[in-house]
Symmetry: C2
Subunit: 235 residues, 2 copies
DNA sequence: AACTTATTGTACGAATCCGTACGGTTGGGA
DNA sequence: TCCCAACCGTACGGATTCGTACAATAAGTT
C-alpha cells in the first residue's frame, strides 16, 4: 500500500489524514452477500471499498424491503459513526464481491476526533449519500420500473470495473422494490432497445447514453452533487 | 425568550450552546408556501420551527416532484451546513404556517466551529433526518397510497398543535407523489373507517392507533430512531 | 450422465394507480 | 350579493404493477 487505494475517499485524503488511518487499515475480500452492518447492532468496522458494491437495505414489516443506499469505491460504510451514533440504522451487505479496506469502529472514531479535516471531508461524503437517498425516495415515488432499472444499472456501472455487472433478477427486484418477473420484463425491454445485454447472472452495459435517456431524469442529480462535493466519479 | 423555545432541538441544547446561539436568533412568522431554501442556492438562514411544518421536496425532470423530508418543531432546516456544504440540495418550503427562530448561515457555522457539543448534537438530528428519508424511499417503493397517506398524516400530527391539519388534497398529492384524485379517494377510505375527518382544506385526526395500524409498518421506525438519538417526540 | 438447485421466461386475472376531464362546492373578495 | 378562484368529488379507459403459478433453461454436483 505505497500508493493510494482505489477507493475515492481514501485517495483524496490529505497525506496526514491518510497516514493516521493507514496503520489501522486491514485489507479484506468481501464475499457475495457478506453482511457489513445489521440494523440496530453496533457498527464493528468501517469499510472502504476498492471494488464491488454494497447496498443499504431498508426493511418494513411485514417482510418487505428495498435498497435505500448504494455504496461502492466512491464511498464508505458506517456513516452513522460520523453522525455520532454507534449503531447501524439499516442492514448493509455486499451485492458484488469486493476488495476493501476496513478499520475498526473505535479506531475510526479516534481518527475522527484527532482530525477536523478528516471529519469534515467524510461528512461531505455522508451528505452526498443523503442526497442519493433523497433522489431514491423521489424516483421510487415517481419513476416507472424500467426507468428505475436503468438508473440502478447506471449507478452500478459507475462503481464496477468493466461493463459486466454480475447480478441476478431476484436481487435486482429487491433493490428496486418490485416483483422479480417485473425485472425480467424490464430487462428484456432494455435489451430490445440495444441498451444492454442480458445473460444468466449478468448484465452487459452497451449504451450508457441510451440508458441515461431512458431513465428520464432518474439518473444524474446525485452523481452531479457527489462530483461537486467530493470529486470526479463515474464513467 | 427567557425560557427555552418550543423547538425540540433548541430546548435540549446545553445552556452554553443555547446562549451562544441566542443573540443571533430572530423570531419570524412563516407564511404558507414561504420558501426557506432553493435547490442549488446558498443557504441564507437556518430555521428552527416552533410550530408548523416545512417540507424538503425533490424535483425530477420533467416536471415531477415529491417530498423527501419533513421538518417541524423537532428539527431544523439547513442541515447541509453541518455537512460542510453552503448550498441547498433541494427546495424547502412551508406546508403549515410556522413560528420559528432563524439564524444567519454565517452565524450558525461560527457557532458550530466554536462548540463541539453543539455540532455533535445537531449532527445526531441530521442523522435522524437521513433515517426518515431512507424510510420514505422504502415506503415510496413498497407501500400503497392509503398506507403512505396514513403515514404522512401521522407524521404531520406529530408536529402539529391540536389535531386539525390544514392541508389541501393538492398538496398532499405532491407530498406523496401521487395524483390529486388519488388522495381524495384515499382520504375517503380513511374517513369511512372513522380514522379521520375530512373537510375543505383540513384533516381531523380521530384515531391515531387506527392510522398506525392501517399504515402497515410505514409509520414508526424513523420516529423511534429520533427518540433514541434526540429525545421524546410525538403524540 | 443423471440429478439438483438456481435462475430465468411466461402467463393471467386482479389490484392499483395514472392521465385526464368535468361538474359541484366552498369561501373570500369585488 | 355576486363572482371567481380554489378546492373537492367523481368518472372512465388505459397503463402499470402485483401476486402467483408453473415451465424452461443453465450451472454445478455426484
Amino acid at each position: 500500500m505505497n500508493q493510494r487505494p482505489a477507493n475515492l475517499l481514501l485517495k483524496q485524503l490529505s497525506s496526514d489524514d491518510f497516514e493516521s488511518l493507514k496503520p489501522h487499515l486491514e485489507e479484506v475480500f468481501l464475499e457475495l452477500h457478506s453482511s457489513l452492518e445489521k440494523a440496530g447492532q453496533p457498527i464493528k468496522y468501517v469499510y472502504f471499498l476498492n471494488s464491488g458494491l454494497a447496498s443499504v437495505v431498508g426493511y418494513k414489516a411485514p417482510a418487505v424491503d428495498a435498497e435505500v443506499g448504494m455504496i461502492g469505491l466512491e464511498g464508505m460504510t458506517g456513516s452513522a459513526l460520523l453522525m455520532g451514533d454507534d449503531r447501524a440504522s439499516h442492514d448493509c451487505f455486499i451485492q458484488m464481491t469486493s476488495n476493501a479496506y476496513r478499520v475498526e469502529a473505535d479506531m475510526f472514531t479516534n481518527a475522527l476526533r484527532q482530525s477536523e479535516t478528516l471529519k469534515s471531508f467524510l461528512l461531505r461524503y455522508v451528505h452526498a449519500l443523503h442526497v442519493q437517498t433523497m433522489h431514491t425516495a423521489l424516483v421510487n415515488a415517481r419513476s416507472k420500473t424500467n426507468e428505475r432499472l436503468a438508473r440502478w444499472l447506471l449507478m452500478c456501472d459507475d462503481r464496477a470495473i468493466g461493463e459486466r455487472l454480475f447480478i441476478t433478477h431476484e436481487f435486482l427486484a429487491v433493490m428496486l422494490g418490485v416483483r422479480r418477473p417485473g425485472v425480467t420484463v424490464a430487462l428484456q425491454e432494455l435489451e430490445g432497445q440495444g441498451l444492454i445485454g442480458s445473460m444468466r447472472g449478468q448484465v452487459l452495459i452497451r449504451d450508457r447514453a441510451g440508458l441515461v435517456k431512458l431513465a428520464n431524469g432518474a439518473y444524474g442529480p446525485p452523481e452531479a452533487q457527489y462530483r461537486r462535493l467530493i470529486g470526479a466519479f463515474g464513467k
